[in-house]
Symmetry: C2
Subunit: 396 residues, 2 copies
């Protein structure tokens, strides 16, 4: 295997610390990639020989983004609904149901092609690790098809049969399906089970039943919770030791305390918050209490149709009062923790010897520019699994 | 001269209406460019023959961004100051003075190179028309040098000698310099005069003196006002018939009424508002009252270091309650109005027969995606003065 030396690094963010901290941004460092892994990190003046050498000209290097909350398997478009909502008109479209109808009608090939388009768009912007979910099929065949499609584009797949109760089926019957035959069908294809624990979706007891069935089938646990109001999602996630509880817009002090005393990561979705005009999640309070947080896009066609982790990081700094270092950590190693990939042999989200060599180069000397220069596309090169990604050219 | 037909347009935003309106977004249109101008617009099914033909594959086409508030002529970096401010530390750096020191020390060649780098970055993101300012020189020689540098990159140049009173000179003496010898030196190089009418910069009477001197020298008038508090900037701008008053974060009802009854454009700078944590300007109230607004980046190294008009448009929709159509208008034809280029022989910001052929293609079927997909770089091709722009490749 050949070794590649990355040198000329203006600032190297390693995330090599137990928690987010300033000390993980190093000047004057170099890095060697070998066998798809980080093989060496140290001072550029002591860099070893390598088969090839890339000088990044003083630019900042950091781990690739780890986006652990996306819904890339869908068909259709909801831009008209979005535009109407932004213009202040009452929310009256079919919402999730609109996408379910379109997704059921699409072929598996179409679902894969659409998801791959979005994954490629994310990769160009520095996202080297993706979680994605089912949840727009909501019948046995469509969820299974969605799980296969998800597996073809994402590093981690989550089963979200319990997104909503679809129309045309009795509530209890649907819960039996989700926790029974549907779960059995998708379990070999997925890593986590998830439930939308919210008024209008599933209540606490229903959510518990879904999660326990998933655990019995060998899956990790995730929860959509506390998005639209003070609900039971966070409490339930902590009680069951879920890997992540996502959204967290409406948290009582007891929710924050519970998260701070738990191993559950609070995955915050600022682009979704802005696109739905929910209050931004209390990121500062969570960190100050000692909770673990992640930042993710929630890429989906209804409430957050973005693949831009940079936008999430900039929003977290400008509007949620995270420091730049904290926001970058939450979008890389913090997110990796929410899928149990922050440490060990397949770790992502940090640049340490032995970690997977997923990294990005910014057209800037420091990660501070991610928030200092909001909206400017800064990712100028990406390595995934040790190989430099070739950008997909424009289609015309 | 050869004619180029642009066809396959999913949605064409023409801005061909007296004010922002839904009617200016057309399906199924085509456009012909000839001699650097828009030569024909109509239904694709009736498009004339042309020497060449570009099919944009169902993508949206709209005017290039018109960014009428930037400060591109500077040297140095203030990312550490930014990061410290975001971390909640008290603002204690030298602010504008830091940049003045660095700008005076830089060579004209360095100033031009830095401004050109930013103008090229903006152009790649769809900005085809730029205003930029002096204001970091603040002595006769440095302001003159800055005005020359600005002329080499921008379509419209503004003299902002009255940015602050620099250290080392008496206040009255500096005002005599700005309204006298400095103004005489820069007047042949610039189009507008501007003043920072704000507590800590210049008061209403000083600002009036600066603006009247500029008018006597044949310059148009712009004002920085009402950024940090309720001040006299808006009142003064309206009274003197200024083309634009910029910032407008703190407006009393009387200020909004005054703007609504005037020809002065309120130029709003949402990226700056977020980067300084000032309240977002009351865009919705201004439009509802009947005022003219523009959106601009305020690109500068201290308080808004972005070239992304797309970020400003998305923020205006998501957080300032503009419709997508209103925000796009404000960032194109609304902005053109603030530099008196919205109508007539050299008009920009609209796509009408005879207008300058400055246009961009989005990697999306509609301008709605500019806010529906925040942070995703959507501009995929740009024509400036009728010629397709070739993207500058990455530097390594």
């Amino acid at each position: 295997m050949t070794a590649e030396l990355i040198t000329g690094i203006g600032e190297l963010t390693t995330n090599d610390a137990p928690r987010s901290g300033e000390s993980t941004r190093l000047p004057g460092a170099a890095l060697v990639i070998e066998n798809g892994r980080v093989a060496w990190i140290g001072s550029a003046s002591r860099a070893p020989d390598a088969d090839s050498r890339t000088d990044v000209g003083g630019r900042a290097v950091l781990p690739g983004w780890v986006d652990t909350h996306t819904h890339l398997v869908f068909a259709g478009d909801r831009s008209a609904e979005f535009e109407s909502r932004m213009a202040g008109h009452a929310y009256q479209a079919g919402g999730i149901g609109t996408t379910v109808t379109a997704t059921r009608e699409a072929s598996e090939h179409e679902l894969v092609a659409n998801a791959k388009r979005l994954a490629a768009e994310a990769l160009r912007q520095g996202t080297t690790f993706l979680e994605t979910k089912t949840g727009y099929g909501l019948d046995l065949e469509s969820e299974t098809r969605s799980a296969r499609a998800a597996s073809s584009v994402a590093d981690v797949v989550t089963f979200l049969g319990a997104h909503i109760v679809p129309s045309g089926i009795d509530r209890d019957e649907y819960l039996r399906l989700v926790t029974g035959p549907m779960l059995q069908a998708v379990a070999p294809l997925v890593d986590f089970i998830d439930v939308f624990c919210e008024t209008g979706a599933f209540d606490a007891e229903e959510s518990r039943a879904v999660l326990l069935a998933g655990r019995a089938a060998g899956l990790g646990l995730r929860v959509h919770g506390n998005q639209l109001g003070h609900g039971d999602g966070v409490r339930l996630a902590v009680e069951l030791g879920a890997s992540s509880v996502d959204h967290c817009n409406h948290l009582a002090a007891a929710d924050i305390d519970a998260l701070a005393s738990s191993t559950t990561v609070a995955t915050l979705l600022p682009a979704c918050d802005l696109s739905t005009r929910e209050p931004l999640a209390p990121a500062r309070a969570l960190l100050d209490a000692g909770a673990h947080i992640a930042l993710a896009t929630n890429c989906n066609p209804g409430t957050s149709y973005t693949t831009s982790m940079q936008y999430c990081v900039a929003t977290a700094v400008l509007q949620m009062r995270l420091t730049v270092t904290e926001a970058v950590w939450a979008a890389t190693r913090g997110a990796a923790r929410s899928v149990a990939r922050d440490d060990g042999v397949d770790s992502v989200g940090s640049l340490r010897v032995g970690a997977i060599a997923d990294l990005q180069v910014l057209d800037a000397p420091s990660v501070s520019h991610l928030a200092y220069r909001p909206g400017v596309p800064l990712t100028s090169a990406v390595w995934r699994h040790g190989t430099r990604v070739t950008a997909v050219p424009s289609a015309f």
